[in-house]
């Protein structure tokens, strides 16, 4: 019993350590005044309302969504068919994708940013497009893993053969069988990519800067002016990410169910 008590206490402390900053930030987003007291003196929706009336925030939010979604969409259109073709017909080349996946992780953001600026700034290409391109490559690992894991659970090549013998064209076999089979894993990968890109700050700030204000850049600006507003931004961000995580968890469970046995 004594040992158990110690474990519980340790767990409680750990939970406090992890949860307290998040809860405090969220509370601060709703606090009227919170200077000398342990808990806020009062609660208000003022900060959240201010935020939503601020056209700058709405625009920044829109830019972040547009940039992240755009990169994810392009990645889905380009990377997913490539992965399918490689897994189905050119398995010996798959190791090169795995190398590319590791390369993506191993690049420090600062080197990437400086490199992009050096190469592209003189070419007259919009730096926003350059960042978009870097994002597409950056989420390769998530899209690859999402698709590959779903494909690993089924013998995709044999499903394709079976469908063709039953009278389906290659395209029909792909859209009616393979795509629905990998869909949950693929969607989870896409959501994960979206949330990673939505929180990306280094690249966009260094390469494009405040000319193209995303939620992260807006947040940094507000940190120095109003803690309440900044907390409200974080609150919205956490709610959004919570929704995304919840959806991913649900999809992952589904896809496990769909392919087991």
């Amino acid at each position: 019993m004594k040992k158990r008590g110690f474990a519980d206490l340790f767990f409680l402390l750990l939970a406090l350590y992890l949860v307290l900053p998040v809860v405090a930030t969220m509370l601060y987003a709703f606090a009227t005044k919170w200077n000398k007291t342990i808990l806020p003196e009062g609660l208000t929706f003022k900060w959240l309302a201010t935020l939503f009336q601020d056209a700058e925030f709405i625009q920044a939010f829109g830019r972040s969504v547009l940039l992240s979604c755009g990169a994810v969409l392009i990645a889905l259109l380009v990377i997913v068919p490539a992965i399918f073709v490689i897994v189905l017909y050119f398995q010996k080349y798959e190791k090169w994708i795995q190398v590319a996946v590791v390369m993506v992780y191993s690049f420090p953001g600062i080197i990437l940013a400086v490199g992009l600026i050096r190469v592209y700034s003189k070419l007259g290409v919009s730096m926003i497009l350059v960042v978009l391109g870097a994002y597409v490559i950056g989420i390769l690992p998530y899209i690859y893993q999402g698709t590959r894991n779903s494909l690993r659970n089924v013998d995709a090549r044999q499903l394709l053969d079976a469908a063709q013998i039953l009278g389906a064209s290659k395209f029909q076999a792909f859209t009616k069988i393979l795509l629905p089979t990998v869909y949950p894993g693929l969607f989870a990968g896409a959501l994960l990519s979206f949330s990673v890109l939505f929180g990306e700050f280094v690249l966009i700030n260094l390469v494009v800067g405040s000319r193209f204000e995303t939620v992260q850049i807006y947040l940094m600006k507000k940190l120095s002016t109003s803690g309440h507003i900044a907390s409200a931004v974080v609150f919205i961000y956490i709610v959004l990410m919570g929704l995304v995580t919840f959806t991913i968890a649900k999809l992952t469970k589904q896809s496990k169910g769909a392919t087991n046995g």
Partner: protein
């Protein structure tokens, strides 16, 4: 002309030859088995018939029509895979209906035909289940129903029962033969299990190293093996060199053959008219259900099989005279 004709079929992957000069003619409604050890090229023949793999040389005719350049989807060939290849995202009913949907058949007709087919394979109550919710045997029946419903000209079965346990396998073998007879469909089964081949086939093509080693009815293959490979692959034939066997039976054998085979159950202990005899000391005895298999040591080792009887007649380490009818000594080429 036969219903399905395979002429001079060759297949190479890079440097390695998988199939050499395969010739087969199959009649409509026949149940054919391609039997052979794994890696002998039997599955490749099925894949070439289905159009999933291209042949390096040779010709395939189905109902007199050359299949060269005909897409898999237009060949009207059905296939059941070893791992079933059921579509995991579809229910049993949708899996079975898939082939009909591809043919743009009215949904009323699809509904009716799917129901009939599910009754044929005894799976009506599982129509709404997903493949993962079914047992291996049930999944295999869905795969069979899905292939049969489009009424293919020929049904190809690639080791469809090898992943199932013995009891279900026996049951499905009987079911398979039953369905084949009822629908009068031409089937080509690939297997490495010689008992399975014997149980279901009209004719067997035994394959080895990418070639057809022997073909014929199950009885012909079993009682008249033409080569040492067939003799040892089918059943547990005793294979002797001419020299050893002549010494053992004490008489000369027909000229022109170097090896001879004797079925273990053709050897017996009681002398009959015209038998040849060979002496041996009983060594080990194995009992496998209804059969007792005894190893004898004479001038070489040989095996005898008897039906299990209440009284054990053979004692280990005692010398016996064994007898074989003259026509059961089979010359191998």
């Amino acid at each position: 002309m036969s219903y399905i004709v395979i002429e001079g079929l060759h297949k190479k992957y890079g440097q390695s030859t998988v199939l050499t000069n395969i010739e087969m003619s199959i009649e409509k409604g026949e149940f054919i088995t391609l039997l052979g050890p794994s890696g002998c090229g039997k599955s490749t023949i099925l894949r070439i018939l289905a159009g999933l793999t291209d042949a390096s040389a040779g010709k395939i005719l189905i109902e007199g029509k050359d299949m060269h350049d005909v897409q898999p989807k237009d060949r009207q060939v059905g296939m059941v895979f070893q791992s079933y290849a059921l579509f995991p995202n579809m229910t049993v009913k949708d899996n079975v209906a898939f082939g009909l949907r591809m043919q743009k058949i009215t949904s009323a007709e699809i509904e009716q035909r799917v129901q009939e087919m599910l009754e044929t394979v005894h799976l009506s109550e599982k129509a709404q289940a997903y493949p993962k919710e079914l047992s291996g045997g049930q999944q295999q029946r869905v795969a069979l129903a899905r292939a049969l419903i489009v009424r293919p000209k020929v049904l190809l079965l690639d080791e469809p029962l090898s992943a199932l346990d013995a009891q279900i396998r026996k049951k499905l073998q009987a079911d398979l033969r039953d369905i084949q007879q009822k629908l009068g469909i031409t089937m080509i089964l690939v297997t490495h299990d010689q008992e399975e081949a014997m149980a279901v086939s009209d004719r067997i093509f035994v394959m080895n190293n990418g070639m057809i080693a022997q073909s014929g009815t199950p009885t012909a293959i079993y009682t008249r093996p033409e080569s040492e490979f067939i003799a040892s692959f089918i059943g547990h034939y005793n294979v002797f060199t001419r020299q050893t066997l002549e010494k053992m039976i004490g008489e000369l054998l027909p000229q022109g053959y170097s090896k001879f085979a004797i079925r273990p159950e053709a050897i017996h202990l009681d002398r009959r008219q015209g038998d040849v005899s060979m002496a041996g000391v009983a060594k080990q005895s194995f009992m496998s259900g209804n059969v007792i298999r005894t190893m004898f040591e004479g001038d070489c080792l040989f095996t005898m099989e008897q039906l299990h009887e209440r009284e054990q007649r053979i004692k280990v380490n005692e010398k016996y005279m064994c007898y074989v009818a003259r026509e059961d000594v089979i010359a191998l080429s």
